[in-house]
Symmetry: C2
DNA sequence: ACCCAAAAAGTGATCGATCACTTTTCTCGG
DNA sequence: CCGAGAAAAGTGATCGATCACTTTTTGGGT
């Protein structure tokens, strides 16, 4: 076996893989031509294209997206900022975003926001100064991160619905929590409950969260004063603790919960207090997490299309990046009340 | 207002943000010096450093990690390949990986594997040819992706424990599912059950999965022949369907499930069949998902430290990248059986 | 044959950093 | 007051691609 031969030139140390130049050299063309073959924008003669493709396969060439992006190629990169991915809503939104991004050929970076992240820190997580970003801003760290991003960063966000609805940042998407909470509350009232109590998830805004408002809306619309709000966290445990003392009061017959995990904790507290569900107490959740249909009793809850929202958030980002506008925005489903076993008429 | 002044030179179009050159020019030093200030490897005089830092703040300069990596800077980038992030184990592992990576100053990319992803496709998801990768290979798409990665890619993986345990790929981490399943099975046997049935999660290997083996181990060790395995999927629904017909048989008194979601489905099927848990039937899950403690009845399950495993997987990657070895590997907890309400002695 | 436009392929600069060297500036002993 | 050696700062090449131009080749029409 000779020193030289038909093998690819061995001046490439084994520790570095083939670049576009290596392909060009072996194929006997310029690297620009290789670039044309790869990107397929301009015409390349069929014979040249075939040879280049063959060399690419032989050398196991894989393009370097870093270099591509640096050199001003098309944007194909997005970072998602989110806080706790253990939460159903955030995780599902992230899935939707990732799916849509991957379908469009984007790489997705993810960076989890811990509560104490500083403003400077946020900017440094981006891989380049004007990296496109999506923020999942359902909670406080997310909302703060959204505010902490430098103004020249192209960003879209999945947020809690703003108060006014219109006239706000056009680069945000949301689900209509308020209407959904009102709907769930009306469902309970229509079953005959005198009033509905509410265990809230933590708030992301200084003003009243939308789910809380929707609950109040529905009560006030029928002339009922909303009872004191019960503040919960995100976990079953916090739901359990929030309602434990309340359940001794048999006049409490219906509880709406800010998410399904809280509802789980509430149901446990109810059983320990000797309350039957739905006989003595109706419980309604929020999210329609996968487990909710299989709980005992199965949980009446509001289905929220977080994945669809995530896809739309990416669609919006794409529209922002490609200024040509008029890119169709993926649609998402409106919240939908799923009635199951955990809600029923109040005890006689 | 004059054409020139103390403002930063306005030859920078507003659409591009400051680079290291801009900082250097305004600060009156070379870009190399700016680089030194930023990276702090070499000494820079205090006065120069201060001036550079000030200009950085004024210009809102943010380093471009793409360019840094391209130019041969330290690796600070990792892509995670995973399939379904809706699964508890995968999601928790991902969280651990992201946490450890972020702590080490790495950016984390995530790419979800759909079942049909081709070999070529996998390589193209990487941002550069030799991008460090972590694979969550608990299921078939993950295992295949691990096999499809080009050989020169530095990769570590969280996997199901290999059969032989040692002598295998040293760049993999796993939890001892087999021992855990055996332990859970022994728990049920020690309560007095004659045998234990098993509803399996889908398998990632051609040979018998570890949880299945552990279950068989424990039965055989006491001279009991393992009953036919019940094949489930990942969802509560699949658990429900897998055992529905079985439950008419009152001699079935203990069921071990491959994950908590399956257990949820099994418990529902049991109730519909009029079986009391744990009076008539004991159910044990796997994962200790957050809901399991609050279910009715609360679920006896095996706690698996997926987050710790994810952190360790990243630690292993770091060790692989920095060949100096001897980097301490984060430890993770061994599986632990959490006994709750859903398991008890068989009916008399 | 001949010329010209369109198609195909090549050239050089650039993106924003790092690296390996080289040059300039201090600091201090003799 | 000079020179040695260390500390500080600068220079030019490079990473792997793209972009805007320029040059060469190809294919018709006359």
């Amino acid at each position: 076996m000779g020193v030289t031969g038909h093998m690819p030139p061995d001046d490439t140390p084994p520790s570095r893989s083939a670049s576009i130049w290596d392909v060009a050299r072996v194929a006997g063309v310029s690297q620009q031509t290789v670039s044309r073959v790869i990107n397929g924008k301009t015409r390349v003669s069929e014979s040249t294209r075939a040879k280049v493709m063959q060399v690419i396969a032989e050398l196991g060439y894989r393009p370097n997206r870093l270099a591509r992006t640096l050199a001003g190629g098309p944007v194909s990169w997005v970072t998602v900022l989110t806080s706790d991915t253990a939460l159903f809503g955030a995780a599902a939104t992230l899935r939707g975003m990732e799916e849509a991004a991957r379908a469009a050929g984007f790489s997705v970076g993810i960076s989890v926001l811990e509560p104490g992240a500083s403003k400077t820190d946020i900017a440094l997580r981006l891989n380049r100064p004007q990296e496109p970003v999506m923020v999942i801003a359902y909670d406080d760290p997310g909302v703060r991160a959204l505010g902490a991003l430098p103004p020249d960063v192209p960003v879209t966000a999945a947020v809690e619905r703003p108060d006014n609805g219109a006239g706000d940042d056009p680069w945000q998407v949301w689900l209509d929590d308020r209407a959904a909470a009102a709907h769930a509350t009306r469902h309970l009232l229509s079953l005959g409950h005198k009033t509905v109590h509410y265990v809230a998830i933590p708030s992301s805004t200084s003003s009243l969260p939308q789910r809380t408002r929707g609950w109040q809306d529905a009560l006030r619309a029928t002339g009922r004063p909303p009872p004191d709000l019960l503040q919960g966290g995100w976990t079953p445990r916090s739901g359990y603790l929030a309602v434990r003392s309340l359940l001794a009061d048999r006049s409490v017959t219906a509880i709406l919960c800010g998410n399904d995990d809280l509802a789980l904790g509430v149901m446990r507290a109810a059983r320990e207090a000797g309350r039957d569900i739905p006989g003595d107490l109706s419980v309604v959740g929020f999210d329609d997490s996968p487990a909710s249909a299989y709980l005992h009793p199965s949980l009446t809850t509001v289905r929220l299309d977080f994945e669809g929202l995530g896809r739309a958030c990416f669609g919006l980002l794409l529209r922002r990046l490609r200024a040509e506008g008029a890119l169709p925005l993926p649609t998402w489903n409106e919240p939908e009340l799923i009635v199951r076993e955990s809600s029923g008429p109040p005890p006689a």
